[in-house]
């Protein structure tokens, strides 16, 4: 294995996997959308408060109780009643410990949700960096597995950032979100509705008219409409402030971000080197056992033919034909080998036509759409080609599909290829070593592979590699 020990980090930056941020709230529709988004964030916030209470609450309460009991015990030690209390508190803390990993995971998921939504709704990108889950030989239920899981979660700064976000969110975030929502809500409930009801001919409603001098119907309506308008006007601003707050708490510091980036690069580099070395070994072995061996055999056959040519011309001729056949076999093997290293059609025509050639060789009809206005760098081209080749092979082997489609394009500074089939779905990147291999290959170029394959299909795999065309 590699000699580059590097902590593993999975990078997740929402803008890589999401449609370009659309959340610039402009116009009346935009402002109304901002209100809806604020309400959405508020829902997340409430879930976060519950989660925070579940996660951190027992620790705080249990700690206070224990402290209190210990202070109590120092005074009157022999009371058995207190010891039972201590044991009770410890036991409930242990129970709480059992569900702690799940709770922490939920906290992280909530924070990730927030950063995704702030990218989609507010156009504020929050990079997230997670230490990936350790590969576990121990099941989650075992003590070792539990320790590993908890160590992983508590050792990942992202967990603490997520917890801090829940706390900050519950106070500062709540205030920010409530400004537009309360303004609109209160404007409608406390002023507009009573204002309408105060018109002559309406019965006084359930909400009493605010009691201040001059609380006539037009004044109330004016105040109400003003509050609704102010809330709506303010909504995009507070939403941006909210997303900024989230970024301030959730995004790793610049230095931490750099550290994580370096770790990521070191890991992908070592994986690339490993893959390259393994590939060279394979080529060496193929040449050694294949073409090289055949050439040796051919030399021997030709030598024998040379010795026989005067004494037994017929036998010599047979040997010569044999040598010819061996050379044809050697050529076939070399051709297959070259195809595996760098397909000639890719060198000749570039990625789009090479993918078309792959589609023609596929056992099922594959439709290829899209064009590339130029050629990506050769290493990217090669990695993308083999990724598509592997994906199409998977479709033919596992998907039980009738047809497949490939779409290639270059947009927003990235090469984007989608492979879709109408098969049975259920492809799992975690299980298939092939998909994992593609991810590794693409990671060397900061590329990503996203597979969506619900059981019952269809399967859609999208690979994206940031690159420029030449």
């Amino acid at each position: 294995m590699s000699g580059y020990p590097a902590p593993d980090v999975i990078w997740y930056s929402p803008e890589e996997r999401l449609p370009p941020p659309g959340g610039r709230h402009r116009g009346v529709g935009g402002h109304l959308r901002a209100l809806v988004h604020a309400a959405g964030f508020l829902g997340l916030l409430l879930a976060g408060v519950v989660l925070l209470a579940l996660t951190a609450g027992p620790v705080v309460v249990g700690g206070i109780l224990l402290l209190h009991l210990f202070v109590h015990m120092h005074g009157q030690l022999p009371w058995p009643q207190d010891r039972a209390d201590v044991l009770g508190v410890l036991a409930s803390l242990a129970c709480y410990g059992a569900v702690l990993p799940a709770a922490l995971l939920a906290v992280r998921r909530l924070a990730l949700r927030t950063s995704r939504l702030s990218a989609r709704w507010c156009g504020v990108t929050i990079h997230q960096a997670y230490v990936p889950r350790p590969a576990g030989r121990h099941p989650d239920s075992s003590w070792l597995g539990y320790r590993k899981r908890l160590n992983w979660l508590l050792g990942d700064p992202a967990t603490w950032r997520a917890l801090a976000w829940l706390a900050v969110n519950a106070v500062a975030g709540l205030m920010l979100l409530l400004v537009p929502l309360l303004s609109v809500g209160a404007g409608i409930v406390a002023f507009i509705i009573p204002g309408i009801n105060a018109f002559p001919g309406f019965a006084e409603g359930a909400v009493p008219r605010p009691a201040f001098p001059g609380n006539t119907s037009p004044v109330l309506l004016l105040i109400g409409v003003g509050m609704v308008a102010a809330g709506t006007m303010l909504a995009p601003l507070t939403l941006r402030g909210y997303a900024g707050l989230a970024r301030w708490v959730l995004a790793p510091s610049a230095q931490a971000e750099l550290q994580l980036r370096v770790a990521h690069l070191a890991r992908t580099r070592s994986e690339t080197l490993d893959t390259g070395a393994a590939e060279l070994r394979r080529i060496e072995r193929d040449l050694h056992d294949g073409a090289q061996a055949r050439l040796v055999a051919m030399g021997l056959t030709l030598d024998a033919a040379g010795r026989l040519i005067d004494a037994d011309p017929a036998a010599a001729r047979a040997l010569l034909y044999e040598a010819r056949d061996a050379s044809a076999k050697a050529l076939t093997e070399l051709r297959d080998l070259v195809r595996g290293i760098h397909p000639p059609v890719l060198a000749d025509r570039g990625l789009a036509d090479a993918v078309r050639a792959l589609a023609l060789d596929s056992p099922l009809p594959v439709q290829v759409t899209g064009t590339l206005p130029g050629r990506p760098p050769a290493p990217v081209e090669s990695a993308a080609y083999f990724a598509v080749s592997e994906l199409l092979a998977n479709v033919a082997k596992h998907a039980r599909a009738e047809t497949a489609a490939v779409d290639l394009r270059h947009e927003l500074g990235a090469l984007r290829i989608m492979v879709r089939d109408d098969g049975c779905g259920g492809a799992d990147p975690g299980r298939g070593s092939g998909l994992r291999g593609i991810e590794r290959r693409l990671a060397a170029f900061d590329g990503v592979l996203v597979v969506s394959s619900p059981p019952g299909g269809p399967t859609e795999a999208v690979l994206e590699v940031p690159c420029a065309l030449s």
């Binding site: 010819r324 050379s327 044809a328 050529l331 076939t332 051709r335 070259v338 195809r339 000639p344 059609v345 060198a347 000749d348 025509r349 036509d353 078309r356 050639a357 023609l360 060789d361 596929s362 056992p363 099922l364």
Partner: protein, 215 residues
């Protein structure tokens, strides 16, 4: 029969010249790049061209493009393209104009002189010579049990392979050691199963079959 050759590897070019001359062809010009090849073709008096796909200066598909240009300028000019590897994509492009008189072979096939020169003659006479590897991949694509090729009997499949390579009924009969009438029966059955209009013209039927399978 006058041949123009475009092949950049000296040894292979000389080998081709020697082989073709040994079988009674006349080599009108032997060039080592696409531009010279086109100039030689434009001079006229060429019955068939043998072109390597990869030629200088780009060492990509320069030869193929030169061959397609020559065919665009001189419709129906017989061209045999040889290459170190075969791609269905290129076979399609060569067949696209539907005029026939096209060949696409692996360079390995040069090793069997008689077969190779037979292919050159066939192309020169307006026929087709597709490499067995192209055909094998084309058939593999259509080999699903419900697909057009899946419904053929093993013998019909053999006949289809040889026919798609561009061979005449007589040649197929000789190869499979059966009578020509038996081959004719098989081809009729193949055309029925593929849903194609039967044709006595060797060339037209090959193009029909290739077009059908390559859809």
């Amino acid at each position: 029969m006058r041949v123009v050759i475009a092949e950049d590897l000296f040894l292979l070019r000389e080998g081709l010249i020697r082989l073709l001359e040994a079988y009674g062809f006349e080599v009108a010009a032997a060039t080592d790049n696409g531009a010279d090849f086109l100039a030689a073709v434009r001079k006229g008096g060429c019955d068939v061209a043998v072109v390597d796909v990869r030629l200088p200066p780009t060492f990509t598909d320069e030869g193929l493009r030169a061959a397609l240009t020559a065919r665009a300028e001189f419709p129906g000019l017989p061209v045999l393209v040889v290459s170190q590897y075969v791609e269905q994509l290129y076979a399609r492009e060569l067949l696209a104009d539907g005029a026939g008189a096209v060949g696409y072979l692996l360079k390995d096939r040069v090793l069997d002189g008689a077969q190779f020169t037979d292919a050159v003659t066939r192309v020169a006479r307006g026929g087709t010579a597709m490499d067995p590897e192209v055909i094998a991949r084309l058939l593999a694509r259509n080999a699903a049990p419900e697909g057009p090729v899946g419904r053929l009997s093993p013998r019909e499949r053999e006949v289809l392979e040889l026919m798609a390579e561009g061979r005449s009924n007589a040649a197929i009969a000789a190869r499979l050691v059966v009578t020509e009438r038996a081959v004719a029966k098989h081809t009729a059955s193949i055309f029925t199963k593929l849903g194609l209009q039967p044709s006595d013209d060797d060339n037209r039927r090959v193009l029909a079959v290739l077009a059908h399978l390559g859809r």
